[in-house]
């Protein structure tokens, strides 16, 4: 009886492995548990034992070749017979069909049991188990998982007590399909397999179990059943979205600490109202905040910096170039207002309006978005009091402004209403120490809270 041994899912999101070395030759007798080959994945180096005794009829891949989870790894003749026809058992799957290929040693010595439910056995009756991992799942879900080469232990169950239901299997497949489709690397196995799945689906052999029409019923049926392409759409990442994703992932690698506080800005509000009284072009808060930021940065120049860890160098800037996060229909863009320290509030106001406009209609140039030394995210204009914006590398800090709102505060022992500006300061802790960040924020708040102080320092 011929047994197709498929490359098992060894967990940790590993989808493929490289055959380093075969331990057995074709034609050689293999005992259950004998190591067939050593396989390297991006996470582990694993010795793959044979789940059965038999003659190794054919290797699924050469040494050095990549093999995908679910692809045929080796074909064994389990009865040493000359009959090479692959038999398919017509019997129902057993409740515990967790065929397992022993334990795999990871490269860091951590021992991880393989779940093995990814193996598709044609002769499940005869497989002997070296260890078992039980998953709560319905019989139909088990059969489906086995049929579609899904590792059931990876599927999150939504049934009673977390039981894996058939819907969970199809949801799991849908999700991995989207993942596969958006994956840039060609993935022969999964694509082929998905084709099979789609064919199976189009046969409509297994729609959602539906309802008896019940008495008097106008039940909205949950028509969401098996994979149909109506269930989701796949969106290719735009170049801008790719850049955002790359920057944010890079940002995530920064050891970021966070400090938050608020400034009482009633004086700034009054100041702006006075200024705007006789003006056609109104000045928004942002340029005022930017001037206060520039004044503060002059005293804490380390915050106005870029960090290049690979060179082990910090670039500390004398000019203050503030990036402003702008939400556009294409995604997030960050135009930069340069030399804020030497520009007037009116100039900044004007320049900012132009740049935001350009960003929104995508006429902005690359130069206008380069050279930032720090960035402001004004997320509060969309909602949110305190947030944690992501630092734009190689910068070392970002200022987040929350929603400006009125709130009761205690001043001189009395509760009074005040207009406050919530401020978040995520900073790169490799470059800026907590004490520095705290002092910087305190000075920034002082500049924003007291109009006289503001005027003499900007």
């Amino acid at each position: 009886m011929v047994f197709e041994f498929r490359f098992p899912d060894i967990g940790e999101g590993v989808h493929e492995g490289k055959i380093l070395q075969w331990s057995k030759k074709e034609g050689e007798l293999v005992r259950e548990g004998d190591i067939l080959a050593t396989v390297e994945t991006d996470k582990v180096v694993a010795e793959i034992p044979s789940p059965k005794e038999g003659v190794l009829v054919k290797k699924g891949a050469f040494e050095g070749q990549i093999i995908h989870v679910g692809a045929i790894f080796a074909i064994l003749d389990t009865q040493n017979s000359s009959d090479n026809s692959i038999e398919e058992s017509k019997k129902p799957l057993k409740e515990e069909n967790a065929g397992v290929v022993g334990e795999l040693e990871t490269s860091n010595g951590f021992v991880m049991p393989s779940s093995g439910e990814g193996i598709l056995e044609h002769d499940i009756e005869n497989i002997s188990l070296t260890s078992r991992k039980s998953v709560l799942a319905t019989p139909v879900a088990r059969k489906m998982a086995s049929d579609l080469s899904v590792d059931i232990s990876k599927v999150k169950g939504t049934g009673p007590s977390g039981r894996v239901m058939k819907q969970d299997i199809s949801d799991f497949l849908t999700t991995s399909k989207i993942k596969d489709k958006t994956d840039e690397k060609p993935n022969e196995f999964t694509n082929l397999d998905l084709k099979n799945r789609e064919e199976k689906n189009s046969n409509k052999t297994h729609p959602q179990t539906p309802s008896l029409e019940g008495a008097l019923i106008n039940s909205e049926k949950n028509s969401k059943n098996f994979l149909t392409t109506d269930d989701y759409k796949v969106e290719k990442l735009s170049q801008l979205r790719k850049t955002i994703a790359k920057n944010m992932t890079e940002s995530h690698n920064i050891p970021t600490a966070l400090v938050q506080d608020f400034a009482i800005i009633d004086q700034i509000v009054a100041f702006r109202d006075r200024v705007n009284q006789n003006r056609d072009e109104r000045i928004s808060f942002q340029p005022i905040f930017m001037k206060a930021l520039a004044a503060t940065l002059r005293k804490f120049s380390i915050v106005n910096s870029n960090f290049h860890p690979e060179k082990e160098e910090i670039y500390i800037f004398s000019s203050i170039n503030i990036g402003v996060a702008v939400d556009t229909q294409f995604g997030l863009m960050v135009p930069v207002i340069k030399n804020v320290e030497s520009k007037s509030i009116i100039e900044i106001n004007k320049e900012m309006k132009t740049l935001v406009e350009k960003a929104k209609n995508r006429t902005i140039t690359l130069d206008e978005m380069r050279g930032g030394t720090i960035t402001i995210s004004n997320y509060g204009s969309f909602g949110g009091v305190y947030g944690k914006p992501m630092i734009l590398p190689p910068q070392t800090a970002i200022i987040g402004f929350g929603r400006v709102h009125q709130t009761p505060v205690v001043q001189n022992g009395e509760i009074v209403p005040a207009t406050i500006l919530p401020i978040s300061l995520p900073f790169d802790h490799r470059v800026i120490d907590g004490a520095t960040a705290g002092s910087f924020l305190t000075e920034f708040i002082k500049t924003l809270s007291n109009i006289d102080y503001f005027l003499v320092h900007i």
Binding site: P92, T138, P139, V140, A141, K143, M144, D147, G159, P160, R163, M165, K166, K204, T205, H206, P207, Q208, T209, P210, S211, L212, E213, G214, A215, L216, I217, N218, S219, E220, K221, N222
Partner: protein
């Protein structure tokens, strides 16, 4: 304080279950009822009608006394006493509703008596008092309309049928739905001549065709005159003829005008809800008959229980496709899942197994071997798609199929399950064997 996490309007099987679950999970809960705790099901529906049916079934059995080897009385002389049957039925009702009241009290639920008029989704007026709530569940149920056919003739509804004083010689029933058919079979057992007027050319077409055939034969055997394509009409004004209208039910929404003005969507008198019983207003839910989805008590209480999880953030879809359907009579009808025709229509590769009760030892011993069990499964994974049972206690037997389908069991799981002997439920096992092509006790 009149401030609650949850107010429920209506204490039927939807509302009181929601109240118990809500309180159990820590919500400060109030339940408003204008009439009787337990709603139609407990007071004028499922429970008293099944009590009457029990009397009728006993009568039917006693009539077979001689056949079963009993002697000493003239079994043919035994007659139903309608008044005493009703008294017994309402004793049962009394016991159950008191039980529910005790549960509600012990659950710490505030019971408010009176008609509730929501002012908004947060404020509910009852007897000029305003109650405030974070979440509102509407469980006001449904009512049968009484058609105005003739002013002189009293027309009963399934709710008021208990006020019939004397067992009539003949009863004319409007509507051949489940309830119309149940009352027809009940009155027939009690020796009343029964006529049914059904305006459609078909009746209960959602039943599996084998069950439907069986029901049609049962009606014939019981000499029930089912007239299809006929509007409910009064033809005979004799005192000895009663009229019962079981035609159309409407959602009880007469006090909800404020909510409707604020955006609560109502379609054909039923409140529109999604699979989680959410209405078009935030924090307002509709459960039970008033959402018009499936007007059965077990659907209502399932909704009542699940909706609390949804309110508490653990959102759950109601499994509307896994609701058992029951018809109570001397020989009962029960089913779950798809009928044979529907399963084929939906493109399943279908296998069917049917096993007659006449080949079941227990059924023969009991002296009632009318009926069958029919199992429908799909070939690919062996999943059970539908089970249809006609048997004396079919409504109890369907429980195993309900569990089986809930757990997505395959036909092989049923076949591998040991069923006790001698029992009627063995027929489920036998039908599964048959469906697999490996029958044991039939050929």
């Amino acid at each position: 304080m009149n401030y609650f996490d949850l107010i429920i309007i209506g204490s039927g099987p939807a509302g009181y279950v929601a109240a118990l679950r809500g309180a159990q999970k820590g919500l400060k809960t109030a339940l408003i009822e204008k009439e009787s705790i337990g709603g139609v099901c407990l007071n004028w529906g499922c429970i008293p009608s099944k009590s009457l049916l029990a009397s009728a079934q006993l009568l039917e059995k006693i009539k077979k006394g001689e056949e079963f080897g009993l002697t000493g009385v003239d079994f043919k002389e035994i007659k139903p006493n309608w008044e005493k049957m009703k008294q017994r039925a309402f004793k049962v009702v009394d016991k159950l509703t008191k039980g529910v009241q005790t549960l509600l009290k012990k659950g710490g639920i505030t019971i408010i008596t009176g008609e509730a008029t929501p002012i908004s989704s947060r404020e509910i007026k009852v007897n000029e008092e305003i109650y405030t709530t974070k979440n509102l569940i509407i469980a006001t149920g449904s009512s049968y309309e009484t058609p105005e056919l003739n002013k002189d003739t009293k027309i009963y509804t399934p709710k008021t049928v208990y006020s019939i004083e004397k067992l009539p010689e003949k009863i004319v029933i409007g509507g051949a739905g489940v309830i119309g058919i149940e009352f027809a079979l009940l009155f027939s057992l009690l020796g009343v001549k029964v006529e049914i007027h059904e305006k459609n050319s078909q009746f209960m077409e959602y039943l599996d065709r084998d069950s439907h055939d069986f029901l049609t034969k049962t009606l014939k055997k019981s000499k029930i005159d089912l007239q299809l394509s006929k509007e409910f009409t009064i033809e005979d004004r004799s005192e000895n003829t009663a009229y019962l209208s079981a035609i159309s039910r409407k959602g009880n929404i007469s006090t909800l005008n404020n909510l409707i003005n604020q955006g609560l969507t109502v379609e054909n008198s039923f409140i529109k809800t999604d699979l989680k019983c959410r209405t078009t207003l935030p924090n307002v839910y509709a459960i039970g008959d008033v959402n018009g989805k499936i007007m059965l008590a077990h659907v209502a209480s399932t909704e009542g229980s699940y909706v609390i999880d949804t309110i508490l953030g653990e959102e759950k879809d109601i499994p509307y496709d896994m609701m058992p359907f029951n018809l109570y009579a001397s020989t009962e009808f029960a089913s779950i899942g798809l009928s044979e025709d529907r399963a084929k229509e939906q493109g399943f590769l279908v296998e069917i197994g049917k096993f007659p009760l006449s080949a079941n030892g227990k059924a023969l011993a009991d002296g009632n071997s009318d009926g069958f069990v029919k199992v429908i499964y799909e070939k690919k994974y062996g999943e059970i798609l539908g089970v249809h049972i006609v048997a004396p206690n079919a409504t109890d037997l369907i429980g195993e199929a309900s569990l089986g389908m809930r757990l997505e069991s395959t036909i092989w799981d049923i076949a591998a399950t040991v069923h006790p002997h001698p029992t009627l439920i063995e027929t489920f096992l036998e039908a599964s064997f048959k469906a697999m092509g490996e029958p044991l006790h039939i050929t």
